[in-house]
């Protein structure tokens, strides 16, 4: 049986990768994918703990996260599409209308 630490380590690695992607990449689509990666890393941690503690709560939360993520994808992709259409770029550093 694979120990829980391994799952958590994988979760941490995935989360770090996602966070690094969000911070480093400029392509909005890639950033978006990185956010998804972070979400799923958290999901992995949730199910691991649920299994470890024999509690259903973690798994329930995962479902919520999936649903919210799906919604977020819909809204986010629509926004990115609109931004691309109006500015012909998806570089998030170019979108700085709210700069102070």
């Amino acid at each position: 049986m694979v120990p829980a630490t391994a799952y958590l380590a994988l979760s941490a690695v995935l989360f770090t990768l996602g966070a690094a992607g969000v911070l480093v990449r400029r392509n909005a689509l890639i950033v978006f994918m990185s956010v998804e990666l972070m979400l799923n890393a958290v999901n992995l941690a949730f199910v691991t703990f649920a299994r470890q503690h024999l509690s259903i709560d973690g798994q329930v939360i995962v479902f919520f996260v999936l649903v919210v993520a799906a919604v977020e994808v819909v809204v986010g992709l629509a926004l990115i599409g609109e931004i691309f259409r109006s500015r012909e770029t998806v570089d998030i550093d170019d979108v700085d209308l709210l700069r102070g």
């Binding site: 966070a19 969000v22 911070l23 480093v24 400029r26 950033v31 998030i92 550093d93 979108v95 700085d96 209308l97 709210l98 700069r99 102070g100």
Partner: protein
């Protein structure tokens, strides 16, 4: 008492009020003549009502006393319950007759005088409102009701002085009158508060009865505060400054408000509260002193004024001073007598002056007039009658009333050793004769100063009121002359008793005093005739300038009050408002802006930086939890 039922007494007030409403609301539809006719009819009806009330009151017999006319509760707050009520007694009836009678004649005169004016409806609406207010004032049974009338006449005075408000001088004069009156009104209100605190009621009869039992200090303070209010309304020193400027108003207004009626409100107030005032000899001494000083001061100033209406204005102030001397000499009935005769002859003088202005197209500077006796025969005759009455030449009305006042002032001197009011009064009588002779000679005698003008006599609608007033000025003395049995004084006796105070035991030598005052008046006229014959008008050197500048009292007010007030205003507007208050508000705004300018640099617009911020923040929170 049926004859004096509230509905009938209220009718007295209802007529002018209805006239005010009719002229105020529908005046534009009444054409050019309509407003004057409506206004005059309203006041005439009021006069008839007053006569009817007088007859009804006399039918009650000599022991009737004051008849309260309750109109139900007006308002209540805590202990204060004010009943709106009127009071019918000889005093209020006399005043109502004078106000509505002289008022009616002046209304009729104004039809002619204001014929060329563009706003007759507004004018007569104000005049009617004024008559209503004055009648309310004199018939009030409660000091608060009286105060309503008191304030209303002030408002009407303001409106009518500034009737030609497109003239800056008129607008300024209106404001000056209102503000100066407010000073007196403030004191009057304080007096009312004090009386209410002490007595627990503001009903005039109650106050009059309770006054004698009040603590001496309260009595004195209340009397002096009310007297301060009276000095404002009746233009006595030091609050007289508004009345000469009030001559900016149309002349019928000067005649009605600033000579015959409104300015007598202060005298009336003291007579009305005789029970209070007569119980405070100290306050009466102040009243007599202020009255005598004012009488003398204003008479001397009138010597060197060049605007005919201003001469009459100072004359009014001076004559009001006489009335206050009478009050202060414990002879309110004599003061009332003089009030009545003065209303006759001063209204006549003002109407004659208005007729002069009418004839000369508003030239009123006596230096530019002259020779008007021939073209304006009736006006000149009217002015002469009024002038003789003012100077106190028998048998004209002013002689009897002024002489009675001087007699009482002399009696006051005999009783208290204080002959100053009498001497000042006698001196004033002399000066009065001089200045009215000067005014009459400069205006009517000799040759015109500006030949080429063709003055024309006033129309009959203006002449007839003058004729009637001239008859009253010539014969009004019968109201109080000894030979005629002093009907007015006896009529007033029940409400204005010679409480006498220190005077009860003294009998002034009436005969010699009368001879002396006649001699004084004739000497004054002779001096005036000698000096000003042939329209000569010597300037009188430095003293003349002193008089012409009105004893520098207006200049003193300018330096002592107005300039500091303006400086204070500038200081408040500049350093305080712009500097401190605006500085504080703007400072808060600037601080917020500076803070924002600092913080806005964090808003870079780079989404990845925000994300880094979120991450670092999350990590820090985690670290904090783990280390805790």
């Amino acid at each position: 008492m049926e004859a004096l039922a509230p509905a009938r007494v209220v009718l007295l007030l209802a007529w002018p009020l209805a006239g005010w409403l009719a002229n105020g609301l529908l005046g534009r539809r009444l054409g050019r003549l309509g407003p004057g006719l409506v206004g005059s009819a309203a006041v005439g009806a009021s006069f008839l009502t007053a006569s009817w009330l007088l007859a009804a009151y006399r039918a009650l017999g000599p022991e009737a006393g004051p008849v309260p006319v309750p109109l139900g509760p007006w308002f209540g707050a805590g202990d204060l319950v004010v009943d709106a009520g009127l009071l019918v007694d000889p005093l209020s009836l006399t005043m109502a007759l004078v106000v509505s009678g002289v008022g009616f004649l002046i209304h009729v005169y104004a039809i002619g005088y204001m014929a060329g004016d563009a706003h007759p409806a507004r004018f007569f609406a104000y005049l009617n409102l004024f008559v209503f207010a004055m009648l309310l004032l004199v018939t009030a049974g409660n000091l608060l009701v009286l105060f309503v009338g008191w304030e209303l006449v002030g408002v009407c005075s303001y409106l009518l002085i500034g009737f030609w408000f497109d003239r800056p001088a008129a607008a300024t004069a209106g404001r000056k009158a209102f503000v100066t009156n407010r000073v007196g009104d403030a004191a009057f209100l304080l007096g009312l508060f004090l009386l209410f605190t002490a007595v627990g009621s503001l009903d005039i009869l109650t106050v009059g009865e309770a006054a004698a039992a009040l603590p001496a200090g309260v009595r004195l303070a209340a009397a002096l505060l009310l007297f301060a209010g009276a000095t404002g309304k009746s233009a006595q020193l030091p609050l007289h400054v508004w009345l000469p400027d009030a001559m900016e108003g149309p002349t019928p207004v000067s005649a009605l408000i600033h000579a015959a009626t409104m300015v007598t409100a202060g005298v009336f107030l003291i007579a009305r509260l005789g029970g209070l005032f007569l119980a405070v000899p100290e306050a009466m001494a102040v009243v007599a002193a202020v009255g005598a000083l004012t009488a003398f001061f204003a008479a001397t100033v009138a010597l060197r004024q060049h605007d005919l209406k201003r001469v009459l204005a100072y004359s009014t102030i001076s004559q009001l001073g006489y009335m206050f001397v009478a009050m202060g000499a414990f002879a309110p009935a004599a003061g009332l007598f003089h009030l009545v005769t003065h209303a006759f002859f001063k209204a006549l003088l003002f109407l004659a002056a208005g007729s002069v202005m009418h004839a000369t197209h508003d030239v009123i500077d006596v230096r530019r007039l002259g020779g008007l006796a021939r073209p304006l025969r009736w006006t000149a005759a009217g002015f002469a009658v009024g002038g003789l009455a003012l100077a106190g030449v028998p048998p004209f009305a002013g002689f009897f009333s002024k002489d009675l006042i001087l007699e009482h002032a002399f009696a006051l001197g005999m009783a208290t050793g204080n002959y100053v009011p009498y001497l000042l009064g006698l001196l004033t009588a002399f000066v009065t004769a001089v200045y009215i002779t000067r005014a009459a000679l400069l205006t009517f005698a000799g040759q015109p100063a500006e030949p080429g003008a063709h003055p024309h006599e006033a129309p009959p609608v203006m002449l007839w009121p003058m004729v009637l007033l001239a008859v009253l000025s010539a014969s009004g003395g019968l109201l109080g002359a000894r030979a005629a049995g002093e009907p007015l004084l006896h009529f007033l006796e029940p409400v204005l008793p010679h409480l006498g105070g220190p005077l009860a035991e003294v009998h002034a030598p009436a005969g010699p005093l009368m001879a002396l005052s006649v001699a004084t008046a004739l000497a004054g006229i002779a001096l005036g005739w000698t000096v000003h014959r042939g329209r000569r008008d010597p300037a009188g050197g430095a003293f003349g300038v002193f008089l012409e500048r009105r004893w520098y009292i207006d200049a003193l007010y300018e330096v002592a009050l107005l300039r500091p007030a303006r400086a204070l205003g500038r200081w408040l507007a500049g350093p305080v408002d712009l500097g401190a208050i605006d500085g504080l508000v703007n400072g808060v705004g600037r601080a917020a802006m500076r803070l924002g300018a600092g913080v806005r640099r964090w808003q870079t617009g780079y989404a990845r930086q925000y994300a880094l911020g979120v991450l670092v923040g999350g990590v820090l929170i985690l670290v904090f939890w783990m280390l805790r």
